[in-house]
């Protein structure tokens, strides 16, 4: 094993200095003749013949129409789809004055989690687990047939159940608190929020994600956010602790009007 590491170092002198498992050749990755991962190989499947979404992913922004960047997060959004209700407009106005839970290291809005830092998906029997580098936090998606709770204790990330729709993983989440943004500084949500996420692994190296935002207290109709990720092979998540030596908050003064 050590020899392998050493060989890897000789081949890639520049990138071995960092130490940990950032250049560890992962098993079961299809490779091209030159040893590079073949990211356009076919989508892998689990023993139960469902697409296997497992892997380490990071955001991507192909040349697509309607690309938007909000606070370093890149998505595809058709802004015309977003119609605020009067209550939604008032909430947006109030929140925009100075409300950034992200600056306090509180849990991020769901779309952001697939649009900034790497994340790992684990597909297990009865459950899908997302490990996010963002804040080192995780999400559990229950695939064991349970229903969403009827009277949930509101939480930052809600309660998630999933099922397969053909080759797409469909995740249904509700039970959110009303403390986060959908897209920070722009689009807030209420505790009536219901998000449907659709994950489709197009080929070995590419994942397409669609969020349907359904919050009739704030938006007149559901709208969608699309995000794109690509596999990052032969590396690992790093530890990211937002609250360690946090310096942002005290500089966030003033009002955005």
């Amino acid at each position: 094993m050590r020899k392998l590491e050493l060989l890897g170092c000789l081949a890639l002198i520049a990138s071995c200095a960092s130490g940990q498992w950032l250049n560890y050749p992962a098993a079961r990755i299809p490779r091209l003749p030159d040893g590079k991962p073949n990211l356009s190989a076919p989508t892998p499947h689990s023993p139960d013949d469902k697409p296997d979404l497992s892997g380490l992913w990071t955001y991507d922004l192909p040349a697509i129409p309607n690309a938007v960047q909000v606070d370093q997060q890149r998505f595809q959004v058709n802004l015309e789809e977003i119609v605020l209700t009067p209550e939604g407009k008032a909430l947006q106005q109030k929140r925009r004055e100075n409300y950034f839970p992200g600056a306090e290291c509180l849990p991020s809005n769901l779309p952001k989690l697939t649009a900034t830092l790497p994340y790992k998906i684990l597909t297990l029997k009865g459950m899908v687990v997302f490990l996010y580098e963002e804040e080192n936090r995780f999400r559990q998606i229950f695939m064991d047939g349970r229903e969403l709770p009827k009277d949930p204790n509101p939480t930052w990330w809600g309660y998630s159940v999933g099922k397969w729709d053909g080759d797409t993983l469909v995740v249904d989440t509700s039970g959110f608190n009303d403390d986060e943004w959908i897209l920070p500084g722009r689009y807030p949500h209420s505790d009536a929020l219901h998000i449907i996420e659709r994950y489709r692994r197009r080929d070995f190296g590419h994942l397409e994600i669609q969020f349907t935002i359904d919050d009739l207290k704030v938006y007149a109709k559901p709208w969608t956010v699309k995000a794109y990720s690509h596999l990052i092979p032969d590396t690992e998540l790093l530890e990211y602790v937002c609250i360690e030596n946090e310096k942002d908050l005290k500089h966030m003064v003033g009002v955005d009007k």
């Binding site: 498992w21 490990l131 080192n136 995780f138 559990q140 349970r146 709770p149 204790n153 602790v241």
Partner: protein, 359 residues
């Protein structure tokens, strides 16, 4: 909708009044759990196995962290803690634990994760090449079982780098690459970056786990030592979302020094009045029981049948609990007789009426 909100942090913090409000999937009958004829989980059923024949450690586990939660060096001899580490621990205790990076300042638990009162329960998620341990605080740990070696020059971080292997039915996890910013317990025992831990996980039967962990830090301790805790499966339930830094209110109230509270002498006949058993039922129907014993001119207590611990008197009626960041017990009189025990914690108070007098 009901909102549990932040008292969660405070409540779970001191453990006095712990117990979290129910609601969602905390009572979900989970498929695959062996059951007794009455439908209750059979916690003495055999250890489940994965497809590759290994014990399956998966599940939500409540760790029985006493006494190591408050003192990881409980089994060490005087002198085993190097003098600088001992002095630093004393200083942290003098500050009543207000600098505790994890339980007060919401940083990751680091190497104390298996022993910290407010880190439990933990959920183990097992796959052949990777085991993930999910924490109540939404953070996770990865243990690689794919044969990789520990990094030789790791970037130090809170949770370190973990590799595991099976030795028979025991999962052995070696971790190195910790930073030196966390404490090993609530008393403030420090560690350095050379710390290496070896955890041995053994699932004894369906409902019971054993974790034996060796701490090896030659820069802070004279010798490696090993502590052992057990874990109980929490069936038909799940982790709750716990965001430590949401509306954090503890640290602002943590003022003062341990030495501000001057120990006083209390007459043996006064101590004798307090002997007895005090009980109450807290939230979620969770019982709490204190037994008070005067002995050798001191007052001792045992909580929920646990080990006897001494109390330090600060007045005739108030006593400080060692190792609990200033938590206090107060004996309340009614009509000239001891009627109840009042617990004072950061989270708030609880009153335990006396149910039995004397020894």
């Amino acid at each position: 909708m009901k909102k549990t909100s932040q008292p969660l942090k405070a409540l779970c913090c001191l453990g006095w009044i712990a117990g979290c409000v129910s609601g969602q999937w905390l009572n979900y009958p989970t498929p695959g759990i062996p059951r007794l004829p009455d439908g209750k989980p059979n916690l003495a059923a055999p250890v489940p196995k994965t497809a590759d024949g290994k014990p399956d450690l998966s599940g939500v586990w409540r760790i029985n962290y006493r006494p190591y939660s408050s003192n990881i060096a409980n089994d060490l001899k005087p002198g085993d803690v190097q003098s600088w580490a001992e002095a630093l621990t004393k200083q942290r205790q003098e500050n009543l634990g207000k600098d505790d990076p994890s339980s007060i300042h919401c940083l990751p638990f680091g190497p104390r994760v298996n022993f910290a009162m407010d880190a439990t329960p933990l959920k183990i998620v097992q796959t052949p090449a990777l085991i993930v341990i999910l924490g109540q605080d939404l953070t996770y740990r990865q243990i690689f079982l794919d044969g990789r070696q520990l990094p030789s020059d790791p970037n130090p971080d809170f949770m370190g780098y973990s590799v595991g292997q099976w030795e028979g039915d025991m999962l052995v996890v070696t971790t190195a690459g910790y930073n030196d910013r966390t404490w090993l317990d609530y008393s403030g025992h420090p560690h350095t970056e050379v710390l290496r831990t070896i955890e041995r996980f053994h699932r004894n039967d369906f409902g019971h786990l054993e974790i034996t962990e060796t701490f090896d830090d030659p820069k802070a301790y004279a010798r490696p030592w090993t502590v052992r805790v057990t874990g109980d499966l929490i069936p038909d339930s799940d982790l709750l979302e716990y965001v430590c830094n949401e509306n954090e209110k503890d640290s602002a109230h943590m003022v003062g020094k341990a030495s501000d509270l001057k120990a006083v002498e209390v007459a043996p006949e006064v101590l004798a009045k307090y002997a007895g058993v005090y009980t109450a039922t807290l939230s979620l129907g969770r019982p709490i029981r204190f037994e008070i014993f005067p002995s050798g001119g001191e007052l001792w207590f045992s909580r929920d049948g646990g080990a006897r611990q001494p109390l330090t008197p600060v007045s005739n009626t108030r006593f400080v609990v060692p190792g609990f960041s200033g938590a206090q017990l107060e004996f309340v009189e009614e009509n000239g007789d001891t009627a109840a025990l009042q617990l004072h914690g950061i989270a708030g108070d609880a009153r335990l009426p006396r149910v039995r007098e004397g020894k």
